[in-house]
Symmetry: C2
């Protein structure tokens, strides 16, 4: 039911991982699509183990550290994930704070709003750079047209991310331009 469950399974469908690995992948590699706190990952893994969606395949003990518990997806886990994947669902709300801020731009002096937009642009440029780096990384190890290769899916999702950032940048630039025009008209 909960979304986090399927996010975890999506990663485990590709390779066995520990809770810690999953957190890393979400917060570093998978970012900025997703994020998960330890309080969600660890309890969910235990629950999924008791429901036989995953199994514990090894417990590595490096002397002093807490035991590293590595989980593998089961066949039940795979079919559960596949069923969820093709299950129809209403699409999400967009829900981006900055869009509400933009909805208030009429209250803000144009010069100030332009500064804000430039800040936002920098952040989106950084994200775009991350996606583009990932694209280069992945496209090397990918056989064209093999849609059953996990990399096919990774690439398509990253491509979405990159396109999204380009859209955001273009939108910011357009707004900046309009605000600039109105500044010049005032003079």
């Amino acid at each position: 039911m909960s979304l986090i469950r399927y996010a975890l399974l999506s990663l485990l469908a590709r390779e066995p991982l520990s809770g810690y690995d999953i957190k890393q992948q979400m917060n570093d590699r998978f970012a900025p699509f997703w994020k998960a706190g330890s309080n969600q990952v660890y309890p969910e893994l235990s629950k999924m183990e008791s429901e036989e969606l995953v199994t514990l395949i090894s417990v590595e003990q490096h002397s002093y550290r807490p035991a590293r518990k590595v989980y593998e997806i089961t066949d039940i886990g795979k079919t559960t994930l596949a069923e969820w994947t093709i299950e129809p669902k209403e699409v999400e709300k967009v829900r981006d704070d900055f869009l509400i801020k933009a909805y208030n731009s009429w209250m803000i002096p144009p010069a100030e709003m332009i500064e804000r937009l430039k800040d936002i642009k920098v952040q989106h440029e950084e994200r775009l750079a991350i996606y583009e780096r990932k694209m280069v990384e992945l496209s090397g190890q990918f056989k064209l047209f093999d849609t059953s290769d996990p990399n096919f899916s990774s690439i398509s999702v990253i491509q979405f991310g990159a396109q999204y950032e380009r859209l955001y940048l273009a939108w910011c630039e357009d707004l900046i331009e309009k605000l600039n025009l109105s500044l010049q008209q005032q003079k």
Copy 2:
């Protein structure tokens, strides 16, 4: 602090509204950017009233119905909203369920995945149509270059929405095409 507060203020900055009005605007007109339940709207309005961000300007009693309580934003409310609007903040995660589903597309038979994508496309086409209708509505009552007109902001946000839906559609079409190619190669 909470986001809902600023969403409410954003609407009240344009005109006085009741809690019911706000819910309507969010769930109908403002959709699909945002959504709010009554349990968030009504208590938040009371809280904001006690903090003097809004004031109750009228209580309409239509015989049998619960009293309709209309709120207006105060000057404190306006400056609070304006400050929040220009306050820098890290940009949001994208977080769309379907992107996780797409991340699992390698597990799904291409023909099935194509069907799913077509379903999603329909939903995004509907949203695009909503945005385009709103654009026509709004652009009529808008003086070009007047960035202090609330409609200027409305238009820019809706434009973002429309561009987003076009991106989503293009991405779906691209994926469908790739999946189709791999189907033909299998034959």
